[in-house]
Symmetry: D2
């Protein structure tokens, strides 16, 4: 152990010395920042591997393993396959309270394969891609956990640190299954972040959501010889999607509905016996989503009746809207200000501007600055995360860090490109530093953990978390 | 009475003299043809008046009166307002058997107003027009009845002649209400014709049909302020028509389905509380139409469920497919051959060709020739007539006569134009002659009536006619 | 002139006496309130007449005349038929500056006929109804103008007062035509109000809008005999509305799009040659609406191409988003607080609750209280008004007054019922008092007019108003 | 060589002996029938293997090899991979004229996996199945070719026999590529058959067809965060399919249009950048199909314009309507009468009836009888075959043989079940006998070949065959 750090930590452990505390904390944080800098090559290598694997929900075998192995190398105790999900794992260190969690994701999005170039070019035709930057997300979080662990060891800090490797965020929601299992129940605080096009401790929330599958079943017939003997499941599906699109006029502006057709029939000369869509519904609160979900079920039944087929609606998962914590947000924001802006260089800006032009948005480049903290923001923007379920169990931090150019559409090839480039890596490093310094501060500041939990208790008074999931285990697909 | 005709008639009434019969019948028919020629100005004037009135279903007050008055002037006994329909009437002459009916229609079609010119030019903006030539139909049939009546008087012929003025053929079906009332029950034969683009005694049949109204009911709201509080009846309707269009793939090629939207909502800034469509379904046989009708009711219910509104399907009327009579067809066809082709002149052909060019079909002009009689034709073409209901009660003749150029779409402005021009008038005169000579032949030939009825009995064995109508009187609209 | 009032007015006209001003103004306002109370029977009678006429856009012949005659009786100089619209008028009094305008509307909404009862019951089947309360609007505004005029006469007040009778607000936008004509150009302030379910000086704005007609043209054919020769305009229209509904996913939450089908084809047995819809698009700012309008034109063209028909998009009118004036709002709000809440009695509350239950909303009754003034509100609610065009020419007040129960959908039969009941009348009286007291205050306070205009100038700096209308006169329909 | 057969053949080769010819031919045919009976186990084994492989278009590697190997074992010279298609092959025997071809198919249909049981039960979940019986088709044809070859060897018959192993009939059309290559150009007659639910030499024809892919390209965005920045390719596709369904009203009853959605977007939280459908259009004649194909291209362009995306229509292949040959049909039909009916036993009937009940059709069982020959049939039924392209190059026989119960929908799990059961095997054996006896008869009867070719020449006078295919090689998919 480096003596200077030991000394600093001793300050805190002797409760009477508070005058010099601020300076000491600053120094400890600097040590954490240095740890992240030392890990830079490792983190970039990990994030690039996961970026190249580009594995989607519950298929993240290699991506998960990259992170779990690193955690083991860094001395964490790793439990793989938690909550019935092969790609979910928990890496632990230490014991006793406080218990602080760090969360990392690593799943990709279908069809967003793209090289790390600012012009559209598929990496692997038709393949998935990290259009949401989760390769950066998991790597930065694990880097942060590693730095915090070093601090705990060096400082002989009491408490428990857990890194949660959480799969399937883009679909289904791995954290919700972990939450149902109670894996977050004993935590004091959870730290997380998300790639974005700006750096902001945003407390405006996220949307609640249900993911469903809507399937139709008809009767085959030769589409040329005797189509009158067939009943087209696809007819049912197209009526259903039409009704969904009509519904858009009759929902509040906070609602989002989107779908893709996952089965649109087989050979055209056979009247389709089956057809299905994946449908997601979101609104500010889960209870409002559930009203629409019920209505959607009637829409499927009505469409089926009109097409003389049958319909089946299957719940995949439900997600709450996130509960932000303002006390925690203040700590995070201060750490961001301390760290200063992300320093994107000229090459980064050039890349970003080319990318912006290619995507048809203003070529304003990257914004590495720390956005002001607004503790009373207006309407939330669209989007959901299974981290929201965690946020109703334990006080949760979710901070945005810039890893992509301003204004480019999210869930796009442009984000995949950025997430495999130096832009993304710089954001990743920054995010790791934000989480590491915040984690250290919390371990050193029981009163802050207390304030955070007091706010949390007030906000969840009368509320009992219940995962909105179908019965049974997580829907892990069979191996290919 | 002209002695020659009297003499001829006496031939027939003395059963032993059959050798000279053919010549005599020919002479009597020539007298009938002469009668039609004498009526020419009257028939043209009547048909032009009805063409200009262009009154639609159950609104044919003036059109019906033109015909009823003429019948009275010609010595018929006229009973107006039969079967609860103000514009339906029966003009009778004579008594006892045989009883022969002649049918005439006179209603127009919405929106087909057009001047009697070969280029598209609305006569009255947005108004109805005789795009099916019923102005010619009613006038020719009444002209034929008048000629037959003269023959009966001059020949002191025993029997009853009835002219049926039948309203609302293009919608609802006036004859079906008359049929339900039993007004055709005691007839021996019914004679009718229809304007067409060729002259043919076609026995291939007509389609059965149901006419329905499909209405949706929702809930109003301000479409900008709180559309989420509204439930759009129009949404229900649009889903319903979408499902109808999807159904087209899954019906036999003999089926026809068509609709118009009769209520598509009011002010756009109000979420539509009501919306409705007029839907017609046809197939070769009524029983098959009814299967689809039932399915359509489910489609309306399903669409309503999907849009969270309510649906109501109302039966307007049902029509059978026509039952042709081959024995009768032979008599008619022979009379057509005797009459020879319609003689269209150069001006007619020029008009016809201009019209064809304006409608985008080959400019082949008019075809006045008599088409061959095919007693075993293939598939029927699309179209329905409430005369079909009559044809299941009494042997019925329905012959086509050319009143419009070849290949022009029916129910179009081109037919309106032709029906008000010399082309239409020539066809009308010809049709009157076909019906008159056929009627005379039947009055003189009990054995033909017998053969016709024998065929009819065989074809309807085991069948009991039942009008497929909603309970209650015909839906006469209130006066404006 | 009553001496007390004269005295009070003299206080103001002698610039040195300001100490007693407040009390004096209060007294003058009380006189205005008394004037409204004296007019009560007249205003109720006028509003009930207009309610019963229920005339829609540009057909408000009787409704307009009721108001214009009353204005004449009250000594205004009335100019009818301004800006080329027979039902638009201006009633003037006085001369010189300041010039203050009061605006009143009087058009009804199609299909919202309803008796003044809390259960749904059409007054005249299929007829229009005052589902937006414009019968109250015009009457209250004219009542206010009358009170202000009395004050001007009695106080020998310098300046000009104008009442604008503005037709066709619910469609087309009469004020926009008056604005194009320059009829508001010389005003200092315009006062207006709108019926609502709560009383609030709301400065959150209104939506910009374009109204359009989208028409398709195809080719007729017999829908059963040769539908393949037809090209259905209705097919084009249904594809177009489908594309409009798909667009809803891809617009910002501030956008509103709504339509009704105004021509959905004629007789079902004719392939529809024409079909059309009335389409309205709104967003916060006109420039954003115009982007969508352009996109909608492509949608119509694309739908037409897909259905092999032609499309035509016609601009009916464009409307700006309203520019509220906070300085004016403060004056109005203070007057509302002075007047206190609307006093709805037990019978009113009973009526309101029955109505709420019948419409399926919580039976919370009426809220007659004055809502707090929020000068920095969040998002505007949906809705547009042609008063917005006026608001970009002259500082404009638009205040909401409760005339209907809380939570009931606007543009509904429930609003028609309320607008013909004592509830509506009480709101109307209150609105008249708010406008009258505000008008008086402004005539007496040049510095307030100045402050209002200073704010206006700042907000409109660099902006030149241009009516977004098609060329040519207002589309006055031909007399029936 | 068996002396009896040799003797019989010698009869024919000596031209003078014609009296006993008929008997001799009968005996030779009996020898062919015996050959098929001897091959029974082999043919069943082959058909069952192909049934179990269930490989779809251009993936029939194992299925093709099963047949090619058998042909080699039987002494044919086999050329694999003809016309650039790895699974296409030609097995030849003999030399010189006449040249007679026998055609066999072996591809399966996606999603119709089913066990050989009369109740619905997938064999392999989601897999392909022989829902068109091509496992029987290829095996029977090769069995027939083998029998004919034996006859040629034993009789020292002059001429060439070719078996064509033709892939990808259910999609794309392998024969069309072989036809383009000229591989059928030198033939005198081609023999083929098809599994069916009755045994009939049907000359009513098949439909012409084009297969196309319609793809849309939009712009991704996060479907919850900023859907307004996305342009949905799926929107374009859904408008396109809607327009296709509307088109159904406006095509002749002979047309068939069907499609499946092959790409309906990826993750629902990404606005779909791509979407596509497989669309097939059929009508009696290729020229009419091409008119609709052109119209469909406009529909895709229109839908794309309406959804603000781009569309691309790709031709996969075109197929002619089949040209039947009546002279050949007479020969085939006579051979069927000679062979008598297929003898299905009680177990077969029981299986068939269970299957019929499970599919909701009347349980009338199997019909093994030979249907009458109607040389002047009415309308063709729906369906296409790439054999049609062959039929415009060389006189072609295409006879139906019962391999499945009456009335069950084709391209269904019921056909898959039948094709793997004794029912299918009996039909297969019968078909092999029909082709073998017909082939033998033609080799022995130059005058029949002449008559057949005379009819062919008359029917194709003025016609030059041109494959309607995109440029370039057949679209063989890359190996998995």
């Amino acid at each position: 152990m480096r003596p200077a750090i030991l000394l600093l930590i001793m300050f805190f452990q002797s409760a009477s010395i508070t005058v010099q505390a601020d300076d000491s904390v600053r120094a400890l944080k600097e040590a954490a920042v240095a740890s992240i800098d030392r890990q830079e090559n490792d983190l970039i290598a990990m994030s690039n591997k996961i970026w190249a694997y580009a594995e989607t929900a519950f298929g993240e075998t290699q991506s998960s393993e990259v992170l779990a192995s690193y955690a083991e190398q860094q001395g964490f105790q790793v439990q793989r396959g938690v909550a019935g999900m092969p790609t979910a794992f928990i890496a632990s260190y230490g014991e006793g309270r406080p218990i602080i969690g760090v969360v990392g994701e690593f799943d990709a999005l279908p069809r967003l394969s793209q090289t790390a170039t600012p012009d559209k070019h598929e990496h692997v035709a038709g393949a998935a891609g990290h259009g949401c930057g989760h390769n950066l997300y998991g790597s930065a979080s694990l880097g942060a956990a590693t730095a915090i662990k070093q601090f705990m060891i060096e400082g002989n800090i009491q408490g428990t640190l857990r890194f949660y490797g959480t799969p399937a965020e883009e679909a289904i929601g791995g954290k919700t299954y972990m939450a149902r299992e109670g894996l977050f129940d004993d935590l004091d605080v959870v730290l997380s972040w998300h790639p974005s096009s700006s750096s902001k401790m945003d407390v405006s929330g996220s949307q609640a959501m249900v993911e469903t599958t809507v399937s139709f079943k008809g009767r085959t017939a030769h589409a040329a010889a005797d189509p009158w003997n067939g009943r087209s499941a696809l007819d049912g599906l197209e009526l259903f999607t039409h009704s969904l699109n009509l519904l858009r006029e009759h929902v509040k502006p906070t609602v989002r509905i989107h779908y893709s057709i996952t089965d649109g029939g087989g050979a055209p000369n056979v009247v389709p016996e089956s057809a299905s869509a994946s449908v997601w519904i979101r609104d500010s609160e889960l209870k409002d989503v559930l009203v629409l979900y019920e209505r959607m079920q009637k829409m499927a039944a009505g469409a089926a009746m009109a097409a003389d087929v049958t319909a089946k609606v299957t719940l995949i998962s439900g997600t709450y809207g996130i509960l932000q914590n303002k006390e925690a947000a203040k700590v995070v924001h201060a750490n961001m200000l301390n760290l200063g802006d992300i320093e994107f260089d000229e090459a980064d800006q050039k890349f970003a501007k080319s990318l912006q032009l290619a995507m048809g948005v203003p070529d304003t480049g990257l914004d590495g600055s720390v956005q002001p903290l607004d503790l009373d923001p207006g309407e939330m923007s669209g989007g959901s995360t299974d981290l929201a379920d965690v946020s109703w169990i334990v006080p949760t931090v979710d901070v945005n860090v810039a890893t992509a150019p301003t204004d480019i559409p999210w869930h796009s090839w442009g984000v995949t490109a950025s997430s495999g480039s130096p832009i993304g890596h710089k954001g990743m490093q920054y995010a790791a530093k934000v989480l590491a310094t915040t984690g250290i501060e919390l371990f050193l500041s029981p009163e802050k953990i207390e304030a955070i939990n007091a706010e949390f208790k007030e906000n969840t008074s009368g509320f009992t978390y219940k995962a909105y999931l179908p019965d049974g285990p997580a829907p892990i697909p069979a191996s290919p």
